[in-house]
Symmetry: C2
Subunit: 243 residues, 2 copies
């Protein structure tokens, strides 16, 4: 249906657990569908077509109504996530939400550029490192930044599982020296769920060990312009959905 | 000795664990001496006169030399902390460090204003809530902001242990609506050390429980302009010094 948006889930308010907006109260609007298949994807229910029956088509007015209901009709930061939210026609949603005072942050891998990126408050580009099994199309990535036209605050967020990912992050950061860089330790726990579903329990000791490793790398290399963060929500709530 | 600075410790690079600069690589310069005696102070070794023998008087050149040695002579964010670093004559240190490309963030309770606050990159004002046992002098606090002259980025960071602290944070935020507000869950662990020293082990479950409680308060109240963060370094390294 034209103008409808494919929604996997809307939840909150909670706090953003990652990246430049860590700790900020937000309502998440997660779209369904993705052009990537990252090996360690932690939101497969918003990616794989077999979950399509769980997704609903909603109008911008319905989505803003749901955000307003969750936020007590107070202006709130809306985090547009996925899947890849750039695949959905989000311009009317952003326009309507902004009219109600909401602000919008969108996170995408940077594979699909849309002119409405310029209407966002935050564009968080999260190109996927080698451990994902995906290859980055840097021309598409550059198009995303061009689409933003310097209007939203832009940031680079890169998940790091291993040395190859770290090297990739260094290369990506060198390509875009003007973008603030957020390195995020990878969360391998979804991999260990035998039946393909995401495990609720996270291995906190492992995540903290990975975080210390990544801090050690960054400080040993004197990479002082990078910010190193864990997924705070995973430390706090595990791999649960809806928090 | 005139111009010397009383130093408790210099360490790093590590990542900032708190507030607006969470996750940023930094070298900490902790000064000795404080005009406050917060009940739950987690750095008593930089506060109490009985630790004075551990403090050293250093010149700005010596301090910058130590920062350079730790940072491999690369420009780095220097976090000036204490104790109350506003009690020390830091203007020449900031001038010399800036000449070498370093940037400076200072955290203080806001009890003592100094004209050199205007030379900082970040001024993080952390007035102490009722659970500290201290009373806030709001005139002195206002003088700190005036001293900054709008030049450094300023933020309000308030530790919250309980409902009274939370109410205090709301009042403080209402006084300064233009300042971004960071709420930080209190860390009660130092209190439990029977012999007055700080325990290395932190009660992570308790800290996460406190974090979830604070997120619940903020989201229930629709206080969407507040950012809620834990002390990341305590989750990662416990109450250890030098990380």
């Amino acid at each position: 249906m034209k103008g409808h948006i494919r929604i996997s889930e809307i939840f909150g308010p909670t706090v953003q657990g990652e990246g430049p907006l860590i700790g900020r109260p937000t309502v998440f609007v997660r779209t369904g569908g993705c052009d990537y298949r990252c090996i360690w994807c932690d939101t497969l229910y918003a990616v794989l077509p077999e979950y399509r029956a769980e997704w609903v088509l909603m109008t911008p007015a319905e989505i803003v109504g749901r955000v307003d209901a969750l936020a007590g009709s107070k202006p709130v930061l809306v985090s547009l996530s996925g899947g890849n939210p750039a695949l959905q026609p989000l311009a009317p949603l952003i326009a309507l939400g902004r009219h109600k005072g909401h602000t919008f942050a969108l996170e995408t891998q940077g594979s699909v550029a849309e002119p409405w990126f310029a209407e966002l408050d935050w564009l968080i580009l999260s190109p996927k490192p080698p451990s994902s099994g995906m290859a980055t199309d840097w021309a598409a990535f550059a198009a995303c930044l061009e689409a933003a036209e310097g209007r939203p605050s832009c940031a680079l967020k890169i998940v790091v599982f291993n040395d190859a990912d770290y090297a990739y992050a260094q290369t990506a950061a060198a390509r875009y020296p003007a973008l603030p860089v957020y390195l995020q330790v990878g969360n391998p726990m979804p991999l260990t769920a035998a039946n393909g579903t995401v495990a609720d329990e996270a291995d906190i000791d492992d995540l903290l060990h990975r975080f210390r490793w990544l801090v050690g790398k960054v400080t040993a290399d004197r990479w002082f312009s990078a910010t190193v963060l864990p997924q705070l929500h995973v430390l706090v709530w595990g791999n649960k959905r809806g928090v």
